[in-house]
């Protein structure tokens, strides 16, 4: 589904961050990318989503056979790539329900399906929110404004479950969650899993991987994947620390 070859990227007019990454994510798989602070984990997710602060300086990103490195973020999103933000941006003045319906209808339009009106969308939203044990008042709340860290993350998972992307790239979705919230978020991710879908979990800790079992684990350090393995690699990392692989 997603094939990254020798991907190199830099902050625009700034330093190189990714220095040649290879990754092959097949439909049905869950990959975890782990690594110490500053290793390039968040940059990887932003570069895949097309964040304007970064430029690809080498290599290729192929999604379902198409080179997407030059596509703008909206085009990538419409093709089914979802990014769960580490720090979801606050957007005062736009409420959650309105935002989600805009996003949902943008997808419907792209798929040449009928857009849904506010009334029908309300039903979809209510169901998804109850699955994630979210307070109904989230519908009316301004997008990410004044949310606690945990509320923001849960809201990212809500968006993912509504948009049902082919590929979800979740950037530290587990950070800032208490144990109950972590379980709910993990359930949300597990619900998305399926033979047609793929997930990339970017995480600092093993904790989330207790709930969402990855097929592959990669360790990123200084802009390169220095080690790949199965689920057991995460456990070893947890036990021995990153020094174990980076040195």
């Amino acid at each position: 589904m997603l094939k990254i070859e020798n991907l190199q990227a830099a902050v625009i007019d700034g330093e190189d961050i990714l220095k040649g990454i290879d990754l092959d994510v097949k439909a049905g798989e869950v990959h975890a990318i782990m690594g110490p602070n500053g290793s390039g984990k968040s940059t990887t997710s932003k570069v895949l989503a097309g964040h304007p602060s970064y430029e690809v300086t080498g290599g290729t990103i192929t999604f379902e056979g198409e080179d997407i490195a030059e596509l703008d973020p909206q085009e990538r999103a419409l093709r089914g790539i979802f990014m769960g933000f580490q720090y979801p941006t606050e957007i005062p003045g736009v409420n959650n329900a309105q935002f989600l319906r805009m996003a949902y209808n943008a997808k419907m339009k792209f798929l040449e399906k009928d857009e849904v009106d506010a009334f029908d969308f309300e039903a979809i939203l209510t169901e998804k929110m109850s699955q994630l044990s979210m307070n109904p008042n989230f519908k009316e709340r301004m997008l990410n404004s004044g949310y606690s860290g945990g509320e923001k993350k849960r809201n990212e998972i809500l968006q993912m479950s509504i948009l049902e992307p082919k590929l979800a790239i979740l950037d530290e979705t587990d950070s800032g969650l208490d144990i109950d919230a972590l379980r709910i978020v993990a359930e949300g991710i597990n619900k998305l899993r399926g033979p047609e879908k793929a997930v990339i979990l970017i995480t600092h800790y093993q904790r989330l991987l207790d709930y969402v079992k990855p097929d592959h684990v990669h360790v990123l350090s200084e802009g390169k994947i220095i080690r790949s393995g199965g689920g057991e690699l995460a456990l070893e990392l947890e036990a021995q620390g990153y020094d174990w692989v980076t040195n």
């Binding site: 304007p52 973020p73 979802f82 990014m83 957007i91 309105q98 996003a103």
Partner: protein
Amino acid sequence: MSENPSEFSGGDYKYGFTTAVDMETFVKGLDEDVIRRISMKKGEPSFMLDFRLKAYEKWLTMEEPDWQFVSYPPIDYQDISYYSAPKEQEKKESLDEVDPEVLATFEKLGIPLDEQKRLSNVAVDAVFDSVSVATTHKKTLFDAGVIFCSISEALRDFPELVKRYLGSVVPVGDNYFAALNSAVFTDGSFVYIPPYVECPLELSTYFRINNEDTGQFERTLIVADQDSKVSYLEGCTAPKFDTNQLHAAVVELVALDRADIKYSTVQNWYAGDPETGKGGIYNFVTKRGKCAGERSKISWTQVETGSAITWKYPSCVLQGDRSVGEFYSVALTNGYMQADTGTKMIHLGKDTKSTIISKGISADKSSNAYRGLVQVGPKASNARNYTQCDSMLVGKASSAHTFPYIDTRNQNVQLEHEASTSKISEDQLFYFEQRGISREDAISAVINGFCKDVFKQLPMEFAVEAERLLSLKLENSVG
């Protein structure tokens, strides 16, 4: 994002066309004789000529103000024509007799005037350069006892009413531009709502400047007699010229006991070339309402999206006890536009209350200033004001300024002021785009969210128009 630069180098001002109509236009210049000729041309009663001449005398002794936060080259008042009108003079009884070119112009602007196409719940007075060319829905209004006509007609048919109220809120010597307007205004709208009548339609005036060297000096007077109610809307556009046109209007509102006036403006004058700053309208307007009666209410809502320079402060004089004044404003500047706008709430009566909600959006190289005065007189015990002033910056080169003034001579008052500044950031837009939403839709959602406290004050169809207008103007300004 658009690939074609011409799409946003002024090309998106879709009202920038001119209409070829046979016009009668005075030669440029201003003196006493020009004023006498205007008055004669319009067949005015003698009190009106006296009013004009008195204003002209005042104007000659006054200096153009320079305290606003705007800058522009000096205006040559002798290089402007003070009268310009489509040639057929008599106001037509039927629209069939109006120059079809003029009708077509309004239709193109989205203001169809003929029977079949006009808006069913809005009565429109259409002003083309200096004169009113058509007023719709006359019969319905007449049956309700409402007078809605051009001010020239009102001077002819209801001179006593006009004489009584004209200049009662904005005196002839009030300020430089109001004095000029009082001397040379050529047309505008007049509204009178009789006691106990709620006006059955929205009333609307649509202003169109067509001629390059003509100033537009219209005069609007709205009187709501006791226990009456009216909602009035003003819209404006102008063609694109490389020169600047002066628009110096005066609007006076009078609300008697328990009367309620709501005045909304969606202003979209040509703002000049966004790349060079050339051309555009100078919008120097005096708008003031007097809550003369007890428990009367005046509410101003404005959406300012155009003009090279905007300089206006729709204000309320809260004279009647328990009267209420409101000001809701969205002012958008982009390109090289400059806006200095806000309000004055003058509390004179007891238990008077005012609300000010101002939303300034500045993009590109523009400058946007809010200037507001809340004044409380010695007799205005229990006066209350709430002011909220929010600015949004789009892009890196724009600026926002806030100048709130408070002047109170009464101890027993309650005044609140809140202010904020925010930005549309690239990160916000990325967030929308990552969810599959286009930049245009994202900007429009953020801006509409920012402005919604003001938009919800507008009549429905105009709120939609205002939202669309803002999105269009900002499309290319972010990032």
